[in-house]
Symmetry: C2
Subunit: 448 residues, 2 copies
């Protein structure tokens, strides 16, 4: 809804977040006018600029890494976080490659999603178009800057970025380079990409529902919860990733071990890693002992319910508590529960899950269909690791985030998540009056 | 996100709103399992029940109308609102016809929205599915009950309804009849439709983000604003309908008069009626005098800017103020502004509009394309009245509401607005590890 009075009351300076958002809104109107060729040309130029200015980026990153070193030494920054902060020469090349990848993707704009003849000469088109202005709030990894900037440009959106303080110089260098590239094209607004600097800026941004259409937080559970609680703007993201693997009575044991192991061990810190393993009682005796042995070998702590403990008594499994079923460990810890039926597994997941991604291992296609229809999650997998839930792996080219909301975008969000649609109606002076009076009738003929 | 602790802390009674929502959630799981045939069979039975029990519905409605009479006499209930409350025999027949119409619509569930081979034997489907539980809060018109119940059932959703107090008996009779119909089908939960009774119930409902997926308010600006402000659940609706008609310099005068007249006069109280007429200065001299004469004849009060006043000096036009451009009259009042260019018209609409529906009248297809691409609204029309923005007229069979949000659903919302999607991934024991190590590569081949 339009609140022109509210807008005119904002009297902040040129560099206030409100002014940034207003300029981003104006920029978004210009972006929406760019042809696919123009958008791809800019993306190619940005990829080249990344390569050509690798030294500047690495220098800025070196400053961030030096500044972070004391925190690493003190143990207040984890080695994993420090690793995500560091950008290598190969990292810059990958950024450029990703931007080129986005240039290669099909145009997400102006797609005809539906076409109907309402009556003779009265044609309705449903057509994809940009959202407008998107705010992306992320932590540490600076490669988010070119990735999100590329997706936003390709989809005709302006973007306002806020990265982690620890990556300030790197992010600044990347955004400066991107804006410079934009500036080289006549009629293309540099304000299509802006970087915010402080936490206070973020709070201001979250109130600007007139000029910002969507907020995407990427980061810790705490960050996402904070954003969701404080925003007047719609937020898409995932606060939690509590994924399950359910090993059905009709599972192939080899597949079950491979999928469960990968889902837990391959990268335990991420949201699409599994936290709970549900096992049908009919297969627990044959499946669990070798599974637990393999997981224990990889250093995984296993917390089992009473039934699981009975099955794998001597394998160093500790008792699970009610709390475990609701915990995203993000670490080499796995809770294990034995269930009496497929229904019990589905119920457990719908009660404790985070609607992110859950997998069933089974050779029984009926059981798979039931699980995949009834589990309420963005991703439901049969005989595949939960770790596949990712924009690149899904073939989206890149992702701006993963949504556990059911509205608008669900699961990994690529270009589609950054578009909306509008209805275009073409008439010949048509009025509603004769249809209301029954003098004319709608034909409602699908076209295409 | 799952908050099992929060859930278990709710210790309210069986009839609390929390308990209603929990039962609705359970019902939604059963509904999601019903085949298209089963859902359509229930709809047909509900249509028959409406016809067979018309007398009961009319009796209940008579009670509501009698109770409302004093308010009408006192002038606290408008005659228009009273008219919307009253249900005739023909009205009941129309309700039944609408339910049958929904039965005839294509299945919105299980539609394959995309299919990709990620690698050999690893297939990703994007498939439509129900949202789950939807809350619909509406005023006066009891025909919303069968309409929304039918759309919800067809799309596999449970629905929690709250109607206006003035229609309490009618709504109660309609919901009772609907639940009775559901109860006649084994395995179909009556809790698929529930009616709430008080404003306090609504406030409770708005906090239940674990069990309710979407809130759709239908009613006054105040109602919608109240819901949006107080909900922890996503809300889709429209708080305001400030629609524009822009008459371009290349407009056909006859079409311009017909479209503008229909958009203002045909039904001024509704959200898709026009509030502001923008006229290009090049055509104002020929278009405005006959237009204003026709509108004045229909009793429309005209508020013009200085330029408009100069053109139609003797036609009883009063001066408009800044406030007029931001006002949804919902009445026989129209503000008129003369603009110097198409760009000025677009800018005016993007600044003051409500992103609902805006029309251009022009024979110039380039001007139309520019207007339709750059105006930021759910509906952008060429040479057609804004009054066409409606689910029935768009061919959706019925509508649950109109959204001015850009996320999820935009414009009139039919069955599609009540669905989301999930990603189903079918593998053969696939793990992410070999792709991470570069031993395997994704094919990302589009299927179908």
């Amino acid at each position: 809804m339009s609140q022109p009075n509210a807008i005119s009351q904002i009297s902040a300076g040129e560099n206030s977040v409100a002014a940034v958002a207003r300029r981003a809104r104006a920029a978004s109107r210009s972006l929406a006018r760019l042809s696919l060729e123009a958008r791809n040309e800019i993306l190619t130029a940005a990829a080249k600029a990344l390569e050509g200015r690798a030294a500047t980026i690495l220098e800025a990153n070196e400053r961030d890494c030096r500044a972070a070193q004391p925190a690493v030494d003190l143990g207040t920054m984890s080695p994993a976080m420090f690793a995500r902060l560091r950008v290598s020469e190969r990292g810059v090349a990958q950024m450029a490659a990703q931007v080129r990848e986005v240039a290669r993707l099909a145009d997400p704009l102006g797609r005809r999603l539906a076409a109907t003849e309402l009556d003779e000469g009265l044609i309705l088109h449903k057509e994809s178009c940009p959202l407008g202005v998107v705010g992306v709030i992320f932590e540490s990894r600076p490669d988010v800057v070119p990735q999100v900037s590329a997706l936003a440009l390709k989809s005709g959106n302006a973007v306002i970025l806020k990265g982690g303080a620890e990556a300030a110089h790197t992010n600044e260098a990347l955004v400066a380079l991107w804006r410079e590239t934009l500036g080289q094209f006549p009629g293309v607004p540099m304000d299509a990409v802006t970087l915010l600097h402080s936490r206070a800026d973020v709070l201001e941004l979250l109130a600007l529902d007139q000029d910002v259409d969507l907020i995407i937080p990427r980061g810790s559970y705490e960050l996402v919860r904070y954003i969701m609680k404080n925003s007047r703007i719609p937020v898409l993201g995932h606060g939690e990733g509590l994924c399950h693997v359910y090993v059905d009575s009709a599972a192939d044991i080899e597949k079950a071990i491979a999928v469960s192991y990968d889902a837990k061990v391959q990268y335990p810190a991420v949201c699409n890693a599994a936290e709970t393993l549900l096992v049908h009682q009919g297969i627990a005796g044959t499946f669990l002992p070798p599974m637990i042995a393999k997981l224990r070998e990889a250093g995984v702590e296993i917390r089992g319910d009473a039934k699981a403990l009975a099955v794998v008594a001597n394998q160093g499994v500790v008792p699970a508590t009610e709390r475990d079923w609701a915990t995203e460990y993000g670490d080499l810890i796995l809770s294990v529960k034995i269930v009496g039926s497929l229904d019990e597994a589905i119920e457990h997941i719908n009660h404790y899950g985070s609607r992110h991604t859950d997998a069933i291992v089974t050779e029984n296609s009926e059981a798979a269909a039931k699980f995949m229809n009834e589990v309420d999650a963005a991703g439901v997998f049969q005989n595949a690791s939960t770790r596949f839930a990712d924009g690149f792996r899904y073939g989206f080219g890149a992702e701006v985030g993963i949504s556990t909301s059911k509205l608008h975008a669900r699961g990994p969000m690529g270009l589609d998540g950054l578009t909306t649609y509008k209805y275009k109606l073409y008439g010949q002076g048509h009025t509603v009056d004769p249809y209301s009076k029954g003098e004319k009738k709608f034909t409602h003929k699908p076209l295409d």
